[in-house]
Point group: C2
Chain length 315, copies 2
């Protein structure tokens, strides 16, 4: 089954891993690039790399980000030289950024660089940047507009977010690879990532939403998985962000974000009572355990999502 997954970082990478174990090279992940940044002259792609490290089985599951067995020698030395380092890059991680930045500076297209890197890491699935031009997510706080990583890492997601904008989005467009993957998809899955700053940027890239709309006309199922469970995000600021943006921090609130995109919705057992409200939005629902506590849970949820999504259409 050819699956396209729209994903951000950690939550997205776990479902990506479950799906990859089921469909292997038939999985294409379109990944958020709004969190990307330049640091020490290097191109840092946090969401891409989180998904890539997870699919390559190199991720540090205990820390929840970065590479297993990481060391911090280069950053420590940069700090000795007086360099600001609130965004710390591990030594093994730095190899990824050096590898990538060198090729980007030589003029290679981000999508080509991403695919070459994934091959070098032995990944069967494909992880496509949502766009080949820079899009930068910025959030409006009481301190003004902040770049995403300034808000996310440096300020520990503490300031309330009152507005989100995507700098460069008007110059972006869906890549030929993304359009082709969507066109060939038998199911599209929206990962339990942050709907505001992980999934919305992908959907905002001109061509992506139209590509998904075209699929729905052909009765290809589009299923979203809630990243909000019992009103809380398992990880990250999605719950506080939904609230401070005047929306509802709940599975229903997430479903509303995807009302015009998805036709099926997966929510956690603890939110089961709200399934009728979501169905009233025009989506079929699956209520199940959505917390991917281990590898078995990743594969189980991935299997249930695929079965539900495709069954939802046929039934």
């Amino acid at each position: 089954m050819r699956v396209v997954l729209l994903a951000g970082g950690v939550g997205g990478s776990k479902l990506a891993d479950g799906l990859a174990q089921l469909v292997g090279a038939n999985l294409t992940v379109i990944v958020n690039t709004g969190d990307d940044l330049e640091l020490h002259g290097l191109a840092i792609w946090p969401d891409h790399d989180t998904v890539a490290y997870t699919l390559a089985d190199l991720d540090d599951e205990i820390r929840g980000w970065g590479l297993r067995g990481e060391s911090w020698t280069v950053m420590d030395r940069l700090e000795e030289l007086g360099e600001l380092s609130w965004f710390r890059l591990g030594d093994r991680d730095l190899a990824t950024h050096l590898w990538r930045s060198d090729r980007l500076r030589a003029g290679s297209r981000p999508t080509d660089v991403a695919l070459e890197l994934q091959r070098a890491m032995g990944i069967d699935a494909r992880i496509l940047p949502m766009a080949d031009v820079p899009v930068r997510t910025e959030v409006l706080t009481a301190d003004g507009w902040l770049e995403f990583q300034e808000y996310f890492v440096h300020r520990h997601q503490e300031p309330a977010v009152h507005e989100v904008r995507l700098r460069g989005i008007e110059s972006a467009s869906a890549t030929p690879e993304s359009i082709a993957a969507l066109d060939a998809a038998e199911v599209v899955v929206i990962a339990p990532s942050n709907p505001i700053v992980s999934i919305a940027p992908i959907l905002a890239v001109p061509g992506i939403r139209a590509g998904i709309a075209g699929l729905r006309e052909r009765d290809v199922p589009v299923v979203a998985v809630s990243g909000i469970i019992g009103g809380r995000a398992l990880k990250g600021p999605a719950d506080r962000m939904l609230a401070s943006l005047g929306r509802e921090s709940s599975a229903v609130g997430v479903a509303r974000e995807y009302g015009d995109v998805a036709d099926a919705f997966v929510l956690d057992t603890v939110d089961g009572a709200t399934a009728p409200t979501i169905e009233a939005l025009g989506m079929r629902t699956l209520v199940t355990d959505t917390v991917m506590v281990d590898d078995v849970a990743r594969v189980r949820l991935a299997g249930e999502v695929l079965e539900f999504a495709t069954g939802a259409r046929s039934g």
Copy 2:
């Protein structure tokens, strides 16, 4: 006493260290940049960094290059990603290259970046790149023209060198800082570095040789130290290079390279018998132990060189 030292890497750094212990901030090193290279998108300055690490007391004296306590995590990971790495960069060393490359890409002048880096490393002396535009030393071998590090590191200095050229030298010029340092110098020392590929590139930068000639008109002493002892280079290919270029691999051969630049010459005790031949070239000579086996020997040789050079003029 204000001292200007012309220097390459290892041999130059030891004498620089001895001089720095005697005159501190009154030492200016004009360093060869012909060995510099770009690797993984980073600006690598081997001779500058060897001198800087030595003056900051961070150098690995046992290995003879790079930083003490170095690790190789980033390179190991780049190799896992399939990246060619015959020029291996240590993790702590990489911090230097990242720090520098970021500033150079932002448009800063190499001399300014060098001086800022030295301040960050707590170095009192100044190490000036010989030029602010790239000059690249290339050597002609039986396999054609090779970039310097290709010959030096990748091919282990094995091919015979039949000719040397300095790509970009016609666009180079002495920096304001180098001209000012020469103008204020009370003595100029030419380090026991490779005369062909470490010192000659510095002297070839338009403005350097004229600056030194101006000093000699004012009776400021210019003293060269032989890096060839008993016909052999202590380190590196200078002896084989002199021979394959049809010159003499001896203290006399080195003295001939500096005949129109220096007025005083320091050679090792083992070559003492050749002092009259060197004096016949118009240079006064000092015969002494020039092998800097330890810190004491560095300071002793530096002191003898300064005393001889200045005494040579007054006496």
